[in-house]
């Protein structure tokens, strides 16, 4: 990546996003202009090439068909003026799939504490996302408290505490091995007593196929609902952007167990393209709240369909 700027340099947020997502983009449309040039119409060869590229961005068969059909409808067999109109069309078709799910997280100030429960499989990036989200909310002028609900993984509690120290945010924790629901209960009490605006609860990573561990999540929800029937006000599922079609199974199973109300897709700063977002948008229509595009606190970005589509398919 010779054109990659040194990481220390400050860039505008748009620049950051575009830069971070550039790998995402270059993978999808790299050299595509070459394929398009000199073509008069959308022929089978072009469509096949586009299909292959969408599939290898984890878009999945179903959503790929939707995008390509949209493109076909748009251009038909009519003559194409130039290559860039195909790119524009592609962007618009992608954005069309994503737009319905681009709904930012709104924190209702009347609900205090506003409770966010984070769930996900092992290693998706829950704890890191919580650290970044907390910092973001603090910057918006809200007081935040964290609950160290991952009492299973070794040193998970310490990891969250270190985040708390770094961003100066109180963390309610018990020891590893404690009952996760009881930690969350304690944290809720503490948050209410101190008049905190937002409480974010961490949970242990678990594969969605483990029935007993999913039951544990339901218990946390029950405990929270007993305090405030509307709580948790947001249940965020954190997905690893590198995951393929399995992300659908994760979203389905977690959705059944704990009524997921929003998604965060992490690790989109690498070579992973996050095309599975299209598959998710088409199949499940769960709102996408944020995407993670880097290590820094400011790299947790609200999800914007147009921006994402533009980054995914630029000429």
């Amino acid at each position: 990546m010779s054109d990659e700027q040194s990481t220390g340099q400050r860039r505008g947020l748009m620049g950051r996003l575009r830069n971070s997502l550039k790998r995402t983009r270059s993978g999808l449309t790299d050299g595509l202009a070459g394929v398009f040039s000199g073509r008069r119409r959308l022929d089978d060869e072009m469509l096949e090439e586009l299909e292959a590229r969408l599939l290898s961005a984890d878009v999945g068969i179903e959503a790929t068909e939707t995008v390509l059909n949209g493109l076909l409808e748009r251009f038909g067999r009519a003559e194409i003026k130039d290559g860039s109109s195909v790119f524009e069309g592609l962007q618009e078709e992608i954005a069309k799939v994503l737009e319905p799910v681009a709904q930012p997280l709104r924190i209702d100030a009347a609900k205090r504490p506003f409770v966010i429960l984070t769930v996900g499989v092992n290693g998706a990036g829950k704890t890191t996302t919580i650290g970044k989200l907390a910092s973001r909310l603090q910057q918006e002028g809200r007081s935040v408290m964290l609950a160290a609900g991952d009492t299973f993984r070794a040193a998970a509690v310490e990891q969250l505490k270190q985040w708390g120290e770094q961003i100066d945010c109180p963390v309610i924790a018990q020891s590893t091995g404690a009952d996760s629901a009881s930690v969350v209960y304690d944290a809720y009490e503490a948050a209410r007593a101190r008049g905190v605006d937002v409480l974010i609860a961490d949970t242990a990573g678990r594969l969605h196929t483990q029935a007993n561990l999913m039951e544990e999540l339901r218990k946390i929800r029950r405990v929270l609902a007993r305090q405030d029937t509307a709580s948790p006000h947001e249940t965020l599922l954190v997905l690893d952007g590198g995951n393929g079609q399995n992300a659908l199974a994760q979203a389905e199973k977690f959705g059944e167990a704990v009524q997921v109300s929003g998604l965060v897709v992490t690790k989109l700063d690498g070579t992973a393209r996050g095309g599975v977002l299209l598959a998710l948008a088409q199949r499940l229509r769960v709102p996408v709240r944020y995407i993670g595009v880097g290590e820094g606190v400011e790299d947790l970005r609200p999800f914007d369909a147009k921006e994402f589509a533009a980054a995914l398919a630029t000429e």
């Binding site: 070794a154 505490k161 029935a211 590198g242 393929g244 399995n246 199974a249 690498g270 992973a272």
Partner: protein
């Protein structure tokens, strides 16, 4: 893992079985379906392409044309290709170097490096009787060092003390020195998760590799990884001379495409599968067995090995004698023993996965038999007196109520348990009769028509 791919290929195979001849046309459609099945299973596109081309080439070749059952021959080709792509035979760790043998782990963030090191440390200590030292060179992620230290304590190995302010290269070298002086056999080196496009971090891991000269350099990859597996594997393979792969989180419903992609692209064999939360949930990888699992033929070899390893031979012998006598003397105590052993083997789910003919049914069955159910049965037996366990006939109404209260279940559950136990006794008598074993097998497999709840072994169905 692999259930979905297995199901898709199964339906392709069913249709191919009926084909009397394989022609260019009917193969076209089938190959397309295989392609879709692989893509849906997250196999990387370049790997899918070479896979389907190879299958097509061979399917139109002489071996199929001559075959009387071209459908079967086609399936054989797919299976052969699967095995070829995943590597022909199991490749164990090579630790035949002057000790200490260093094992370096590398991979993306959240792929499961630290957890895998804990599991591998336990595996090497318990099964290969090695003296193991672990060291964390992850100075970036908060509490990564504490995580490895805690895991080391859990599995009973030494963790080389490091501080988060240190230099990874120096830390690793010091750990290897320490290991040499204190006669350790193996040093497991954990590294920070890194993105392949982060040049500085990739350089760091290269330097780390040079500094410790590992006997094994293992790439750790999440089984749920999508198409990116190809790129990431390639980049790590270019940066480091990989000697093997650990595929983690393989106990979920990932379709296992990463397993196929990574081997093909790096050329490094998959050596282990991470299959659960606990520190013993690490399994050596056998490509041929996995291929037959994908094609729904089950993995009986692993199942038998698993049973041999976890079952107490003494107890098994006693049970066998009772079985030979047609279940005479088989009591609830033995029943309980069996339940405990199932639990030890990683629960019913992991057994069902390996049974032949389960294919698409595996998920259904797993839904029915969650392990809480086994635990409840154990609780009921635990609430019985020794006399009740040896002679269940004496359990009357008031005893049932006591057992139900003691184990926190409704009385009906106690009734069901007793009924299942009686059925089991009856079945054992049948085994003794001639041909009984066959009938039993038929019942266990649901008469070949796909096992439903009715076909489950008594005591295992709900």
């Amino acid at each position: 893992m692999f259930d979905n791919l297995s199901g898709r290929l199964d339906s392709v195979a069913q249709r191919m079985r009926g084909q009397g001849r394989i022609t260019e046309e009917n193969i076209q459609e089938t190959v397309r379906e295989v392609r879709m099945a692989l893509l849906e299973a997250d196999v990387a596109l370049p790997v899918v392409r070479s896979f389907t081309e190879e299958v097509k080439k061979r399917a139109l070749g002489a071996e199929v044309a001559k075959s009387l059952t071209p459908g079967q021959a086609f399936i054989k080709i797919v299976q052969d290709e699967l095995v070829r792509v995943m590597g022909e035979a199991a490749v164990p760790l090579n630790l035949n170097v002057q000790p200490p043998a260093v094992i370096l782990m590398a991979g993306l963030q959240g792929s499961g490096k630290t957890t895998s090191i804990g599991k591998l440390a336990r595996y090497l200590t318990e099964r290969e009787k090695k003296k193991v030292l672990v060291v964390s060179c992850d100075v970036y992620r908060p509490a990564a060092i504490e995580q490895l230290a805690t895991l080391a304590k859990q599995v009973g190995v030494e963790a080389f003390p490091v501080s988060s302010g240190g230099d990874p290269q120096r830390m690793a070298r010091q750990a290897v020195d320490h290991a040499r002086r204190h006669y350790f056999d193996v040093v497991l080196v954990d590294t920070a998760g890194r993105l392949t496009i982060d040049e500085a971090m990739m350089d760091e891991v290269k330097r780390l590799h040079r500094a410790v000269d590992p006997a094994e350099t293992l790439f750790v990859v999440d089984a749920m990884t999508g198409q990116d597996a190809a790129k990431t594997a390639q980049a790590f393979g270019e940066a480091l001379p990989l000697t093997g792969v650990i595929l983690t989180k393989a106990d979920g419903d990932a379709r296992g495409g990463a397993a196929l992609s990574v081997r093909q692209i790096t050329g490094a064999p998959i050596k282990f599968l991470g299959i659960g939360e606990k520190t013993d949930a690490l399994e050596p990888f056998h490509p041929d067995r996995i291929a037959s699992r994908i094609l729904g033929k089950g993995d009986v070899v692993s199942l038998v090995e698993e049973v041999e390893r976890s079952v107490d031979q003494e107890k098994a012998k006693r049970l066998e004698q009772k079985l030979r006598k047609g279940g005479k003397g088989f009591d609830l105590e033995d029943f309980r023993e069996q339940m405990l052993q199932i639990n030890q083997m990683g629960g019913l789910g992991s057994l069902v996965d390996k049974m032949p003919g389960m294919g698409q049914h595996a998920d259904q069955i797993k839904d029915q038999l969650d392990d809480r159910f086994v635990r409840r049965q154990l609780a009921m037996i635990d609430s019985m007196t020794p006399a009740e366990r040896t002679r269940p006939d004496i359990i009357n109404g008031s005893r049932k109520r006591r057992i139900a209260d003691g184990s926190g279940v409704p009385v009906q559950d106690v009734n069901r348990l007793l009924k299942q136990f009686k059925q089991m006794q009856k079945m054992m008598k049948q085994i003794k009769k001639k041909g009984g074993m066959q009938r039993l097998a038929q019942r266990l497999m649901g008469g070949g028509g796909g096992p439903g709840a009715g076909g489950m072994p008594p005591g295992l169905g709900r």
